[in-house]
């Protein structure tokens, strides 16, 4: 797993690796929202947690099709499948790299971009915390979707269609945690649900991802 992680991180940070694309996209959405809904401070600060979550989700979605497609095109995926690395491990490594290159930077950037949306400073921790807890689920679910569409040429739109409904529970609970955190309300239930979804997805989906990869490489 370590060599795969190291290589994928190296590829992501080299030229054309797409590191930072998700972050730029995140920034663009956050900048565009006030132009769309108007500059009123109270409206912006009210929708800020939700917008940050939706923008983070879309930014994560944007980079999903790179997860397996490049390795599939140049034949590397076939060779990895015959290498002494279980495909389950490959799935975990790929999800982890996706999270390190998108989920983690988005989490760190969210409070700063929240400033643009008049996010109450008291809510910075809640927004960043909910993203920290929820974005791993986005990466793992997305990796599963990327594995499903690995054999499909120009599968980007299909991938979005498959993954979006799977993202709904994570988005609902994640944004709810952020919203309640900003409003300083009781947030135990959504927090537990969000943690549960992430834990369940991280524990179980790599098996589904590996099964799907095997089917696709046949």
């Amino acid at each position: 797993m370590i060599p795969l992680l190291r290589r994928d991180l190296m590829l992501a940070t080299r030229a054309g690796g797409g590191f930072g694309l998700a972050l730029v996209f995140f920034l663009i959405v956050i900048v565009l929202v006030p132009f769309g809904v108007g500059p009123e401070t109270d409206i912006l600060s009210r929708i800020a947690p939700g917008i940050l979550w939706v923008a983070a989700l879309l930014a994560a979605l944007l980079s999903l099709d790179r997860i397996f497609a490049l390795d599939h095109e140049d034949g590397t995926l076939t060779l990895i499948a015959t290498a002494p690395v279980p495909l389950e491990t490959v799935a975990v490594a790929k999800s982890l790299v996706h999270w390190i290159t998108t989920g983690l930077p988005l989490t760190i950037a969210a409070p700063f971009l929240g400033v643009l949306l008049q996010l109450d400073p008291a809510g910075f921790a809640a927004v960043a915390g909910s993203l920290l807890l929820g974005t791993p689920a986005l990466s793992v679910i997305g990796t599963f979707g990327a594995a499903l569409t690995v054999g499909v040429r120009r599968g980007g739109l299909l991938l979005s269609l498959l993954v979006l409904p799977l993202y709904v529970p994570t988005l609902i609970f994640g944004a709810e945690v952020a919203r309640r955190g900003v409003a300083e309300l009781e947030l135990t239930t959504p927090l537990l649900m969000l943690a549960g979804i992430t834990a369940g997805a991280v524990a179980l989906l790599p098996f589904a991802t590996a099964a799907v990869l095997r089917m696709n490489l046949r």
Binding site: P3, R6, L11, T82, P84
Partner: protein, 205 residues
């Protein structure tokens, strides 16, 4: 070392080869020949475990098989050394020193793989076989886009570094590699027109 009995393989729901049987002993190679579309790639992929056989048995020592397709699997954003180190790490081996001269890539070590010519990329792709330390190689058209000199390099590598050390290789190729190895003509195993055995199409015929 490699034993194949009564193997039948399918592509796209249709059985293409059946009754394939052969043995390859340590230190031996087997050349696969046959017209385009006969099923060489399908057979090699089945041998490598990438797809299930329709029927028959394949036996070779566990964790000794390796496959090389006609794709190079070279990452253009990485350097030549980084490409090889990755595969060595995946298989838990060091990169052997002989590999640089064996494939004539010593001068390219620090070059980005994206700047290599097609032939150099191919040699880098083949050099992977030298770092993974596997005994049973399944090679699909390994010499595509190689010139005569590089083909000799490759043949030499297979003979002295692989076969001489007790490895075996099954190679699908159209050209004469200059290996003294038996040839398997796949045309004789082409599946007949009668309903394909237990492939998925059969249920609908």
């Amino acid at each position: 070392m490699l034993r194949v009995r009564d193997l039948a393989v399918a592509r796209g729901g249709r059985t293409v080869l059946e009754g394939v049987s052969f043995d390859v002993n340590p230190g031996e190679a087997l050349i696969l020949r046959g017209a385009n579309g006969i099923g060489k790639t399908t057979l090699l992929r089945t041998l490598a475990g990438l797809q299930d056989p329709v029927a028959g048995d394949i036996t070779f020592p566990e964790d000794e098989g390796a496959y090389a397709s006609h794709a190079d699997a070279v990452k253009t954003a990485l350097s030549v050394t980084e490409n090889l180190t990755f595969w060595a790490d995946i298989y838990g081996n060091p990169v052997p020193d002989m590999i640089w001269d064996a494939f004539d890539i010593a001068d390219l070590r620090d070059r980005s793989a994206g700047t290599l010519s097609a032939g150099q990329k191919r040699r880098l792709g083949l050099a992977r076989l030298g770092v993974i330390g596997r005994k049973v190689l399944f090679l699909d058209e390994p010499t595509v886009s190689l010139d005569g000199f590089s083909v000799r390099l490759f043949t030499n590598f297979i003979r002295t570094e692989h076969l001489a050390k007790g490895g075996v290789a099954v190679i699908a190729t159209h050209i004469d590699l200059g290996l003294s190895a038996p040839t398997l003509e796949l045309d004789t195993y082409a599946a007949s027109d009668r309903p394909a055995r237990s492939s998925s199409d059969e249920a609908f015929l």
